[in-house]
C-alpha cells in the first residue's frame, strides 16, 4: 500500500467521508439526525463498531474461508453491535430510548460491512484500524453537521440550548423526514462546490 497510516485515517474525513462520498448508511443518517445529541451518539456507536469489526476482520482474514466470509463478518459485526446496545442501555438509557431500533440496525449498515469487505479483509491490522477510525469519525462529523442544521432550523435549539430565543418560530419541516433529504442534498452540494476548486 502506498498510503501511510495517517492518510488512511484522513481519507475518511473528506475524500471518502460517509455518507456524502461513500453514499452508504443513509438510513440512520436520515432517521436519527433530528437532534445533535442523537447524531453524535449514533456516530460514536457506529465508530466503535467500525473500529472493532475492522480490527477483528483484519486479524482473522487469514483464517476465514472466502466462501463464508460475509457470514463471518456479520457475526463479528452483530456481536459488537449487541455490545454497544447493552452498554448504552446500561449507561445511557435516554440515548438508547431516542435511537431505539437504529442501534440494532447498525448490523446492516453498509458502511460497516463495506469497510470489512473492501478494506479490512485485504489489509493489515494497523491500516484497518486507521481506516475504521477515519471513516467512523467522518461519519460522526457528517451526522453532527446534518443534525446541527436540522435541530437549529427545526427546533431552534442546539444540543438542547435555545439559540434564537423564544421569538423564533421553529421551521418544523426540517425535523420531518423530507427535511433530512433536503439537508443532506444541500450539504452535499456545498461539499461539491468547495471540492471543485
Amino acid at each position: 500500500m502506498a498510503k501511510t497510516i495517517g492518510q488512511e485515517f484522513v481519507k475518511g474525513l473528506w475524500e471518502e467521508i460517509p455518507p456524502f462520498r461513500l453514499v452508504l448508511g443513509l438510513c440512520p443518517t436520515l432517521a436519527v439526525t433530528k437532534s445533535v445529541e442523537n447524531g453524535i451518539g449514533m456516530g460514536l456507536a457506529t465508530t466503535f463498531v467500525l473500529v472493532c469489526a475492522n480490527l477483528l476482520v483484519s486479524i482473522l482474514s487469514g483464517i476465514i474461508p472466502s466462501k463464508i466470509r460475509i457470514a463471518c463478518f456479520i457475526i463479528i459485526i452483530a456481536t459488537f453491535v449487541t455490545v454497544v446496545e447493552l452498554m448504552m442501555q446500561a449507561y445511557a438509557y435516554q440515548l438508547f430510548q431516542n435511537l431505539g431500533i437504529f442501534i440494532p440496525l447498525i448490523v446492516v449498515n453498509c458502511i460497516v460491512l463495506g469497510r470489512a469487505e473492501a478494506f479490512a479483509s485485504k489489509n493489515k491490522v494497523i491500516p484497518s484500524f486507521a481506516d475504521g477510525l477515519g471513516i467512523g469519525v467522518g461519519f460522526t462529523l457528517s451526522l453532527t453537521a446534518i443534525s446541527a442544521v436540522r435541530e437549529c432550523l427545526g427546533n431552534g435549539t442546539l444540543l438542547g440550548y435555545s439559540i434564537f430565543g423564544p421569538a423564533f418560530e421553529p421551521f418544523s419541516f426540517m425535523v420531518e423526514a423530507p427535511g433530512a433529504f433536503i439537508c443532506l442534498g444541500l450539504l452535499l452540494c456545498i461539499m461539491n462546490l468547495v471540492g471543485q476548486k
Binding site: 466462501k67 463464508i68 463471518c72 456481536t79 455490545v83 452498554m87 446500561a90 438509557y93 435516554q94
Partner: protein, 199 residues
C-alpha cells in the same frame, strides 16, 4: 471435503465465542439495565401517580411471587406523612399497537384506586398515544373501589373512552381490571409488606 470441515469449524467457533461473550456481558449489565428501566420508564409513571409521597417510591419497593408467574412482581410503596398507605404495580394488556404497560396505584387504607399511568405502549401517535397525557381519561379511574372492573361506556361500564381510541381505552380498562384482581388476590400479603415501610 477439507474446505467444508474448515468452514463448519470456523463458523462454529466464531459463533460460540460471540455467544459466550454476549451472554457474559448481558449477565454483568442486567442489574444496571433493570435499574435504568426503573428510573426512566417506570419511574416517571410511578412519580406521576404517587405524587406528593414523602419517600422515593422507586427505591422503596418489594417483590412478591404471583401464582402462575415465573418472575416476581415489583410493588412500589408511597409513604404520606410517615404513613405508608399507597402501593403501585404494573399490569399489562393488549392495546391497538400491541402490549401496553399500565401502572396502577392503590390506597390500602381506603381500598381505592389512587391513579393510573401508562408506562410503555405502541399506540398510534396522535390517537391512542394521547393516553400518555390525557389526564381527564385517566382521572376517571381514581377513586374507584379496589375491586372494580372498569369498562368503557360502550361495553356497559362507566368510563368515557378517549375519542377515536376505544381500543386503547379498553386496554387500559383491562389492565386496571387485572390490577384489581391481583390486588384482591394478594391483599393480605401486600398490606403486611407495606406496613414495614415508614417515612
Amino acid at each position: 471435503m477439507r474446505e467444508m470441515v474448515k468452514m463448519v469449524i470456523v463458523l462454529t467457533v466464531l459463533s460460540s465465542l460471540s455467544g459466550g461473550l454476549l451472554a457474559a456481558l448481558k449477565n454483568n449489565t442486567q442489574d444496571r439495565i433493570d435499574s435504568q428501566v426503573l428510573t426512566f420508564v417506570k419511574g416517571p409513571a410511578i412519580e406521576n401517580i404517587l405524587e406528593g409521597a414523602n419517600n422515593d417510591p422507586v427505591n422503596d419497593r418489594f417483590s412478591l411471587k404471583v401464582e402462575g408467574e415465573e418472575e416476581e412482581r415489583n410493588f412500589f410503596v408511597g409513604v404520606y406523612d410517615g404513613n405508608p398507605k399507597a402501593v403501585a404495580f404494573e399490569t399489562r394488556a393488549s392495546g391497538y399497537g400491541g402490549d401496553m404497560g399500565v401502572m396502577v396505584a392503590f390506597n390500602v387504607e381506603s381500598e381505592e384506586i389512587m391513579g393510573v399511568s401508562v408506562t410503555t405502549h405502541n399506540e398510534t401517535p396522535g390517537v391512542g398515544a394521547t393516553v400518555e397525557t390525557d389526564t381527564n381519561f385517566k382521572n376517571q379511574f381514581a377513586g374507584l373501589p379496589a375491586d372494580a372492573e372498569p369498562r368503557v361506556k360502550g361495553d356497559g361500564g362507566s368510563i368515557n373512552a378517549m375519542s377515536g381510541a376505544t381500543i386503547t381505552s379498553r386496554a387500559v380498562c383491562k389492565a386496571v381490571s387485572r390490577a384489581t384482581d391481583l390486588y384482591q388476590q394478594l391483599q393480605s400479603q401486600i398490606k403486611d409488606k407495606v406496613k414495614t415501610f415508614t417515612g
